[in-house]
């Protein structure tokens, strides 16, 4: 995947010099291992700092809503699905965008890797599907496939679904993936155990809203937790308020979530925020045979009514 960068830079430079776009949204190298920073380039000089590797897990579609200029954007499979969702939801116009599609082989989970080492990690490099981690006298090489973000490990849409340019040949999609093993485990719990599970999950939440703000779907001008008239949710650390935030946010994402993993990646407290969104993603798949962001021609299931919609829940 590292070799993509030359092509990404070439396309980006061309788009800017030919004035096809005003800015290009991509990644530059971060100051810490395993952390690239989203950035924009306005000229060929800026493009030089662009990078591409397995640390580009942040969903760049999040940077699109309400922008007015012509934008080039680098998009993995999941980013492209969120771009589709943005277009359907009128947050950006298709003709404003030049999408540089990047077939993706998965992003690495920096928390998982950090947790594997007692000492601080100071350098992480990758080569041919292997990740080499260094830090304070320790050096270890791991298979990349073992340290993928969970959502990447079960991803079945690695290739961009919408693009104008491609940075590489398409990759083979993963087959026979069990996408919902974790959800089924929770579904099988007794109500008491479920309650305990979610309580534990949210125990460390500091209400920083990094999950919400990293999510391309969460673009409401005023989030329900920030409403003052009426104030729906308290602002303290009361567990009821924290739960209300997470549950409602997940429901707002139902039928729209692409399981891009941005929320989990962003959480500074290491909360598996996907535990909420994924159940709804599964429901949408099973009830409506729906996966978000695959088509520009179809409205999301919660946007539409069909006489054939499942209605067993109305009793």
């Amino acid at each position: 995947m590292l070799e993509y960068i030359d092509k990404i830079k070439e396309i980006s430079t061309r788009l800017l010099t030919e004035k096809k776009v005003d800015i290009i949204i991509g990644f530059r190298k971060g100051t810490l291992p395993m952390s690239n920073e989203p950035c924009f380039a306005k000229n060929a000089e800026d493009i030089k700092s662009f990078v591409w590797d397995s640390n580009c897990g942040i969903n760049l579609a999040n940077y699109l809503p309400n922008r007015k200029e012509k934008i080039g954007i680098i998009a993995k499979g999941c980013d492209s699905r969120n771009i589709v969702t943005h277009i359907i939801e009128n947050k950006i116009k298709r003709d404003q965008l030049v999408i540089i599609g990047v077939p993706c082989k998965g992003m690495i989970d920096r928390k998982k890797i950090s947790d594997m080492f007692e000492k601080e990690i100071t350098e992480v490099t990758e080569k041919q599907g292997k990740i080499t981690v260094k830090g304070n006298g320790v050096e270890k090489t791991i298979e990349k496939s073992k340290v993928l973000q969970e959502n990447c490990a079960i991803c079945i849409h690695r290739n961009p679904v919408i693009y104008d340019e491609l940075a590489a040949e398409k990759v083979e999609e993963q087959k026979n993936v069990d996408r919902y093993e974790d959800v089924r485990k929770v579904e099988a719990m007794t109500p008491e155990d479920k309650w305990k599970y979610f309580d534990n999950l949210l125990e460390n939440c500091i209400r920083c809203y990094a999950c919400r703000n990293a999510c391309p779907l969460c673009y409401c001008p005023t989030c329900f937790v920030d409403e003052a008239k009426p104030q729906w949710v308290g602002k303290s650390q009361d567990p009821t308020d924290t739960r209300t935030f997470h549950f409602l946010r997940a429901f707002h994402c139902a039928g729209r979530c692409t399981d891009c993993g941005a929320c989990v990646r962003a959480c500074p407290m290491g909360i598996n925020v996907r535990a909420f969104t994924k159940k709804l993603e599964k429901d949408c798949f099973e009830l409506f045979n729906w996966e978000a962001g695959l088509s520009m021609d179809e409205r999301p299931p919660l946007d539409t009514f069909k006489p054939t919609d499942p209605d067993e829940f109305i009793k």
Binding site: L32, C39, I58, D226, S236, P268
Partner: protein
């Protein structure tokens, strides 16, 4: 100042003696990180950490805290009259606080303890605490305390500075409060070689290679820095989440909220963040810090310029590196500080 030698074999015994007089608070390992918490009976603080995930600012400034209470029941004589909630002001001993975090408390004190107003909640909790620092011998790559007017053995804000010497600790007494605590624990043996502390201090300081340059900040005007061209680039990736402000040991901003259930109500304060649009939103809908650029600029200008100009106590950052490590998009205060410090206004 006096230095006491604490044999590690006597450590648990001393702590147990202290439990009668103090509530003990210390770093505890949870899952894969450390955080401060009240120690259970027989529980020992765990010092095998670089630094805790959340800062110990919450010792005096909890994320949510009840300030006042009242009754809305008109049958009661004192209905609708707001009363101060009495807090537990009994002594507490905080072990394992890093020198950077202790210095941070001194900076926060400038906000809560002023000549005009005293914040009783912060001051009471702060004064009830005896802070026993643990010098830092293995700083992280994101530590830059030596360039923020602090350091891995810095004593400001501490009552005792402890240094790990292997089979024993050296405990440097910094204040009367600290001396009393050591006495109560029964740790009385004077150290044979207090100079070890100085030696270890220089070794540790040498390990800190990350730094910020701040010397030019003072001479730049607020408006020049405010209007500098780099803010759009710096703020682009920012999600405007509250992570950096919540994990920062020096961020003190808060919101005040009333919460009433039935006929009873409280007024409480919760941490707030300059990253949130709601922080400055007027009732009219006008927002003086309307955009992400405004808000990101506010955070860095406050830490690195406004604070410096207002208090003349350096920058409002102790170099603990938490915001760097936990920022979801890798915005690095060191990079921003250097940009501000090196900025030359064009005119």
């Amino acid at each position: 100042m006096k230095v006491i030698k604490i044999d590690k074999k006597k450590w648990a015994e001393g702590l147990n003696k202290l439990r009668a007089a103090y509530q003990l608070i210390g770093p505890v390992k949870k899952d894969t990180y450390h955080d401060f918490q009240v120690l259970d009976k027989d529980q020992l603080p765990d010092f095998d950490f670089l630094n805790t995930r959340m800062s110990p600012k919450s010792i005096a400034f909890p994320q949510s805290e009840v300030m006042l209470q009242y009754s809305l029941d008109e049958a009661k004589e004192d209905h609708h009259i707001m009363k101060e909630v009495q807090k537990d002001a009994s002594p507490r001993a905080v072990f394992g606080i890093r020198p950077c975090d202790a210095k941070a408390l001194m900076l926060v004190k400038l906000n809560f303890d002023t000549s005009d107003y005293k914040d009783p909640y912060w001051i009471q909790a702060y004064e009830a605490s005896t802070l026993i620092g643990m010098a830092c011998d293995n700083p992280s790559s994101t530590c830059f305390c030596t360039s923020t007017g602090c350091g891995p053995y810095n004593e400001e804000g501490l009552d005792v500075l402890m240094v790990d010497i292997g089979d024993h600790y050296l405990a440097k007494i910094i204040s009367k409060k600290g001396e009393e605590l050591l006495e109560k624990a029964g740790w009385k043996t004077s150290a044979d070689d207090p100079s070890l502390i100085e030696k270890k201090k220089s070794q540790s300081e040498a390990k800190i290679t990350s730094a910020v340059e701040t010397k030019n900040l003072k001479d730049k005007t607020i408006l020049d820095l405010y209007e500098a061209p780099f803010w759009e680039d710096i703020s682009f990736s920012c999600l405007n989440c509250g992570t950096c402000t919540y994990v920062c040991p020096t961020c003190w901003c808060f919101d005040i909220q009333d919460e009433a259930h039935g006929k009873k109500g409280v007024r409480m304060r919760n941490w707030d963040s300059c990253m949130f649009p709601l922080f400055t939103l007027h009732t009219t809908g006008h927002n003086p810090r309307e955009t992400k650029v405004h808000r990101v600029r506010q955070r860095f200008m406050h830490k690195l310029k406004y604070f410096m100009d207002k208090y003349d106590k350096g920058i409002m950052c102790v170099g603990c590196g938490r915001c760097i490590r936990l920022c979801p998009v890798n915005i690095d205060i060191r990079t921003v500080c250097d940009k501000m410090n090196n900025f030359k206004a064009s005119c």
